[in-house]
Amino acid sequence: MDEDILKLTDMQLDALREVGNVGAGNAATALSQLINRKIDMTVPQVSILPLGDVPDVVGGPDVRVAGVFLRVYGPAPSSILFLMPRESAFTLVDMLMGRERGLTEQLDPMDESALLEIGNILAGAYLNALSFFTKFTLLPSIPALAMDMAGAILSVILIQLGQMGDHALVIETQFTTDGDGAVKGHFFLIPDPGSLGTILTAIGVKE
């Protein structure tokens, strides 16, 4: 598996980036409509990283984050993880609940389900794009939420990848809302070992 990841051609990486771009674009549009704000999105990074370096993408393993996790079922099983700094999660909840900014300091069950729903909508929007390119039916699981250290949350997917190799293929996009009290988030799609080949074949760039 490691060999597969390390041998990806530029064209394959470009293709993955494009899928990520459309998927994240869909997700950003959905989020923008939900909170009625403009959202800036970075061009997706497709990176191949040693497993231990992945937490650095979000600022290090001990950074406090909110994570919404979903499994993707279908011909190309994958994991989706939406990570936000803790403060961004609180701000996002304020926006969704129509509360004054800065009021949320701890999540109640209603806030938690709002964040889960965000995860659901983002994942659905993203998977729509992935389904379009691959012609696969890809279904998300119900989402799960954790508020904890970035390393601890990421360990869930990294361990899974660790069974196959020492590197992770990470398709990652960063979101930022405009205005003060910006909401930042990272959206990760991490194909299961074996799924990457299936996706590459389906989008027509398998060597």
Binding site: M1, D2, L51, G52, P55, G60, P61, D62, R64, G67, F69, R71, S141, I142, A144, L145, A146, M147, D148, M149, A150, G151, A152, I153, L154, S155, V156, L158, I159, Q160, G162, Q163, M164, G165, D166, P193
Partner: protein
């Protein structure tokens, strides 16, 4: 003088001696394994991701697995003046970060990790004296080589010393 703080990344291990401390940040389903010789005040900390190298498809990094990491760490500790029979082990981690109604094997990896770590320690005849495993929260662990205290920090579940 500030004592050295040696960082241990995911799928890695480090050894050191008094007055340094070994620290590993943000353990989730991974397991932190501390080995300490209280007389030589030499110790090591491993941050393993998976229990068993024989079930993995491939790896170039032995520090990723409990069964291949521990013998390496023990050898390095002995080289640094530790006596094998004096080594005591403390472990922490193995959480299940996301709780699903129908948890699959993938989600229960933390539990399997800590179970296998206990077995590997037993097989290597290393004495497990304390542990803090399970739950659904992350941990930062620090081994103080001055006294062998294994400190566990969490975000909402407080702090404890083993």
């Amino acid at each position: 003088m500030m004592a050295d703080l040696i960082k241990v990344g995911m799928a890695d291990y480090k050894v050191g001696r008094n007055p340094a401390s070994l620290i590993s940040y943000g353990l989730g389903s991974c397991v932190g394994i501390a080995l300490y010789d209280p007389v030589a005040k030499v110790g090591g900390l491993a941050h393993i991701m998976l229990p068993d190298s024989t079930q993995a498809r491939s790896s170039e990094n032995p520090a990723k697995f409990a069964d291949t990491c521990l013998p390496l760490m023990v050898a390095e500790l002995v080289k640094n003046g530790a006596t094998r029979s004096r080594l005591v082990a403390k472990i922490a981690g193995g959480a299940q970060m996301f709780v699903f109604a129908n948890a699959t094997d993938i989600m229960r990896v933390g539990e399997r990790n800590s179970q296998t770590v206990r077995m590997v320690l037993k097989k290597l005849e290393l004495r497990l004296v304390a542990e803090d495993c399970g739950g659904n929260y992350g941990r930062t662990v620090e081994l103080k080589l001055e006294n062998g205290i294994f400190r566990i920090k969490t975000i909402d579940k407080g702090e404890k010393e083993l």
